[in-house]
């Protein structure tokens, strides 16, 4: 054991900016994920399994354009359940070793913890979507081909994921402290996120079908989803202090 007798030096502390604290927390989450890969692997595998289940579900449907209308919804089923899985895990480590307590003891605004966690959840969700959505089309391309506007699907996916990560981070912070947390998160998350889901499915279907539907019902749902994001993230950020203290 190499114990030296000189005590650690005194330090002059300078209060760090909230933004630098945010960066530190975000880097920590990303670094942990790079090491363990637990979120991405579990979410990715889960998304793939959902696609397999869809394969069975659609196996007996006649091919046709109707599939495009349905597929928008199916895609979101995948996103919602995958994100539920990820959100459930996002606080389990923080809780296990008391790290959340450690973060709360640091001199920073609770909002920073919320924003950092929401951002890392968003990043993981987006990475999984970038892999899973093309995979979805690869498997079902034989059933129907989407319209030319299909690449615009990125927009509703992005707006939807932002909202899911924002509200989901608040709700999963609540449910990590609760008995039967998996069920509880789903029970809270799905009703609360329903309006966002509804708007995003509408926009996604519009993008996939294209033509008149695209012109008619793309902008409104997207705008409503964005409105939901703004309102809900602001309120979650504001309420976060009450949840952790």
């Amino acid at each position: 054991m190499s114990r030296t007798t000189d005590t650690p030096l005194k330090v002059e502390r300078k209060h760090p900016s909230s933004f630098s604290q945010y960066k530190v927390l975000l880097t920590k989450d990303l670094l942990r994920e790079v090491r363990t890969k637990e979120m991405l692997v579990s979410m990715g595998v889960y998304a793939l399994l959902v696609i397999v289940v869809f394969g069975v579900a659609l196996g007996f449907a006649a091919p046709g354009t109707d599939f495009l209308e349905v597929s928008g919804g199916l895609l979101w089923v995948m996103v919602v359940f995958t994100s539920l899985l990820g959100l459930n895990r996002s606080f389990s480590v923080e809780k296990e070793c008391g790290c959340l307590e450690g973060l709360l003891l640091a001199p920073m605004d609770r909002g920073v913890i919320f924003l950092a966690k929401a951002t890392s959840n968003l990043i993981f969700l987006l990475i999984v979507e970038v892999i899973a959505v093309p995979l979805f089309w690869l498997f079902f391309s034989s059933v129907a081909l989407p319209a030319e506007t299909a690449p615009l699907i990125a927009l509703p996916l992005l707006v939807g994921s932002v909202g899911i990560a924002g509200v989901g981070t608040l709700l999963s912070t609540i449910t990590t402290n609760v008995k039967g947390k998996d069920v509880m998160l789903a029970l809270l998350f799905i009703p609360v996120v329903f309006p966002l889901l509804y708007a995003c499915v509408a926009a996604t279907v519009a993008v996939l079908v294209g033509g008149d539907v695209m012109a008619e019902s793309f902008a409104t749902p997207l705008a409503l989803a964005a409105l939901y994001d703004v309102v809900m993230i602001l309120i979650s950020w504001f309420l976060y202090d009450f949840v952790v203290s």
Partner: protein
């Protein structure tokens, strides 16, 4: 009535004071008013045609052509119950906010009881609403904006109550539940707006033509006030029970010391 409820919010009397003296009378009044409304709906108010039926249409299992639907009577209960459930929810949300500001557990108790009353009336609204949909629109369920929003609302109320049972620490439970209450209060209007504004093939926007006749209005007002009275009395009765239980706990604690 709503006024008296509001005043109790600021005073928050211990159980057994004037609102509790009042509540037996209030529930009697509620029962009388509701019964009057019930009788009136069947005997005084003339039957009106339900949803506009053009020509002959299959409603339920029978062909209907602008028939004077008896099932329309459920409307006199459906609407007042729905309004009462909204009132209870508004109180619950109000108490949730009060708790978050003051962090006093009694507001959390109020929020919880208001939410329980709200759940009762929400379920009643759903049941009467289903009857209405079945006989007026011919289906058990349709994803109409109002129905959808109401379903979401009911789910959140259920989630609120389940969440309460999942947390042991009273302060934590109160904070979590209040946060969920506030989120629900903001989420539900957004939900209604979203389902209303986004055009969809399967969601008929049902608007009915024509207003209510004075008799209809009076009947709804009677049942409405009656239901509010019943809700208030239920709220007070439960409040009294919970407060007494809390008092017993406090006394036990004191005996321990």
């Amino acid at each position: 009535m709503a006024d008296s409820k509001k005043r109790t919010a600021h005073k928050l009397p211990e159980a057994g004071q004037w609102p509790d003296v009042l509540s037996p009378w209030v529930i009697v009044a509620g029962i009388i008013l509701t019964t009057l409304g019930f009788l009136m709906a069947f005997f005084v108010v003339p039957p009106v045609s339900g949803a506009t039926v053009n020509g002959a249409e299959l409603v339920g299992d029978t062909v209907v052509s602008n028939k004077l639907l008896m099932s329309q009577k459920i409307f006199y209960f459906h609407m007042p119950v729905a309004i009462t459930s909204f009132a209870a929810l508004a109180f619950a949300a109000y108490y949730c906010v009060r708790f978050l500001i003051t962090r006093e557990l009694r507001f959390d108790t109020c929020a919880r009881i208001a939410m329980e009353v709200a759940l009762l009336f929400t379920v009643m609204t759903m049941i009467t609403g289903e009857m209405w949909t079945r006989f007026e629109w011919g289906v058990w369920w349709t994803w109409d904006p109002r129905l959808t929003t109401y379903l979401i609302l009911m789910l959140i109320v259920i989630a609120y109550i389940v969440l309460r049972n999942m947390v042991d620490d009273p302060i934590r439970r109160a904070a979590f539940a209040s946060v969920v209450g506030v989120i629900a209060f903001i989420d539900v209007p957004i939900c209604f707006m979203v389902t209303r504004l986004i055009p969809s093939s399967v969601h008929p926007v049902v608007t009915r033509a024509g207003g209510m006749t004075p008799e209809m209005g009076l009947c709804i007002a009677l049942v409405g006030v009656g239901m509010m009275c019943v809700a208030f009395a239920l709220y007070r009765a439960r409040f009294r029970q919970v407060r007494f239980a809390e008092r017993v706990d406090a006394l036990k604690e004191r005996l321990d010391d």
